[in-house]
Amino acid sequence: MIAEIGHYALVLAFFVAIAQVVVPMYGAARRDAALMGFAAPAASAQFLCISIAFGALMRAYITSDFSVANVAQNSHSLKPLLYKISGVWGNHEGSMVFWVLILALFGFAVAAFGRQLPDTLKARVISIQGLIGLAFLGFILLTSNPFERLDPAPLDGRDLNPLLQDPGLAFHPPMLYIGYVGFSLAFSFAMAALIEGRVDPAWARWVRPWTLAAWTFLTAGITLGSWWAYYELGWGGWWFWDPVENASFMPWLAGTALLHSAIVVEKRDALKAWTILLAIITFSLSLMGTFLVRSGILTSVHAFAVDPERGLFILGILIVAVGGSLTLFAIRAPALKAGGLFVPVSREGGLVLNNLILSVATVTVFIGTLYPLFLDAMTGDKVSVGAPFFNATFVPVMIPLLVLLAIGPLLPWKRGNLRAAVEKLWVSALFTVVVAGGILVLEEGAPLAPVLGFGFAAWVAGGVVTELAERIRLFRIPLGDSIRRLFNLPGAAYGMSLAHIGMAVFICGATGEMNWTRELVATARAGDTLTLGQYELVLEKVERSQGPNYFRDMATLKVSKDGVPYATLHPERRLYPVQQMPTTEAAIRSSISGDLYVAIGEGSDQGGYIVRVWVKPLVPWIWTGAMLMVLGGLFSLSDRRLRIGAPKRSKRPAARPAVTEAGD
């Protein structure tokens, strides 16, 4: 019964969505306040309906209602509660319901907090948001009904893929989806602005926090996914340039560009058409990501069983969305009035360059990801494009961005002086030389990669510190005043510094891991000793025991570092009997200088076990760097100026009074 209510709620949501698309859009065209007023309640009703459907599915999972086919295929009564819950979005149908839930949530957020938005803009934004929802609700109802019943109901379920039964992956999809889908709002705002034919700083001040929120979640989601792959797959890698990873990375790159260009629209009323285009591209890439993952059209290590027909449906949505929005852009964008002037050497100029670089970087990832598909279609040749390709293209493209990252924030708006900015960076340059030289000295005959990697990281970090010092006028006013200034900086300033520092930390981690990793694969029996670098590992024993829904072989290894006891590690090998699937649970000992990573393989008949040991320097820096970026996003979001009317420094008053959200 509950499942039928869920299904019914989805159908209802579909029809509410039709009304949500048509009525407010028509009302906005006619300037009819009553019809436009329909938008907010419709968005709320939409959110309510989908919440009911999602709740019904959740209930079916928690109570292990195996008469629902989806639950029977993806859950099991013995599964821990957390994974029963995460099982809801751990499969195709459930994840699509989650997708539309987030979509409706964002529509609802505009309805609830957008009281200060101009009526027509608000009505149109909610209408477009409804249109996206409509497409995906249609997709769910026609191809992926999560509430289909099984008769007779099986006694127990087929269980969730054991690799997904992991806390890292329980939260990875929701984060990623909030990020993906969050960009839908930037898209809806872009479409609405094109229909209105007007973009002003107030518009940007609306779009930016939502984009920032989506970006923050996407960053966290990608990081969680990468972390999961690192410890759960037992291969010791954290980024494989796999199509599915790239599918989430491309919207991230475009979204990062969008964040930066929206600043220019907000502060300087320039780059409007470009920002609109970026909003379209970012969400299109999110849609493409959904398509790539759901269609299984690209071979990927992350691919789960997939259905090409569903892929075709999403491809249809993708084509209509991209084609329609770009057509609208082509028609309306030339009418957007060009805004504030600036010279090439200025903050705006720096941000334009930032956008160009990030766009080109996105293009290289795009080509690398889709080329195999293209070649297969054209010639039938099957190829794979791996990490070496991206290291040879994406990385060099991004290097100028790192150089720029230190300089750009030091340039003033409108008209800057490159020499003045570069002169301020002498400390940073010195630091860079010391770090790069240090690496050269420490590692005799060091390859270029680590020298460059740490050098650029030092340059970026130095730039961030310089920028902060400039802001608080360090050493130019009394220290106490500087410290007071430091505490009174706006949230956005902290946000930028944190995110940029995060970038430097991340580069260190990635460089260390890629250049200094050492690996040992050997067979060992109880009592054997393995040596790798400073570490000595003694395999004490391997014991068999039982977990809630699996059996495991757990090894005990005593590790000493430089002869001093260091850690006891327990790598496991699990067998999940329901799916007859073995998994590897690596044991990782982390410290600030790096990880010691141990995984065991299957035991042989002679009593030996394959033991894989990696020493992976600086890996925790990768996660720390990414988390700093997330923290930066949160700090920026907390900036009051994003939420209430910002004092306008521009001499020209905006066309409207600074309208922003005052909902909270």
Binding site: L163, A303, F304, A305, V363, V383, G386, F389, T523, I610
Partner: protein, 148 residues
Amino acid sequence: MTPKRRRLSIVLIGLAMLGTAAALVLTAFEDNLVFFFSPTDLAEKDVGADRRIRIGGMVEDGSWKKYEEGLRSEFVVTDFQNAVKVVYRGSLPDLFREGQGVVAEGKFNGTVFTASEVLAKHDENYMPREVADALKKSGRWKEGEEAK
């Protein structure tokens, strides 16, 4: 600088960067594209012993031999028309099994394929697409064999 000239210079810089990126992409493609071959392709075409390639097919039943307590493995990959012997040193992925699809990356010297990497899948029912296509080509693909 007028807005028009500014836009022009931005477009020019953008084009220059795209050009650089295109050059990088083309050189990278030359060196880093890894082509896929089925066992039949290997029997028919000459691939050169130095080129990194990928092969795929089914692991032949009863062909998996382990040496040094599993540290070194040998198995036969087949598309049911032709077969190729694969040697691999290292730990095989959790889901490696006889009678299942597999993709391996490495080099082929004309008789033996030395794998440097054997690719794992997250889902045991999943069939690598190249493998499915290779089997279809050799006429051994049964519709409905692919789970779900």
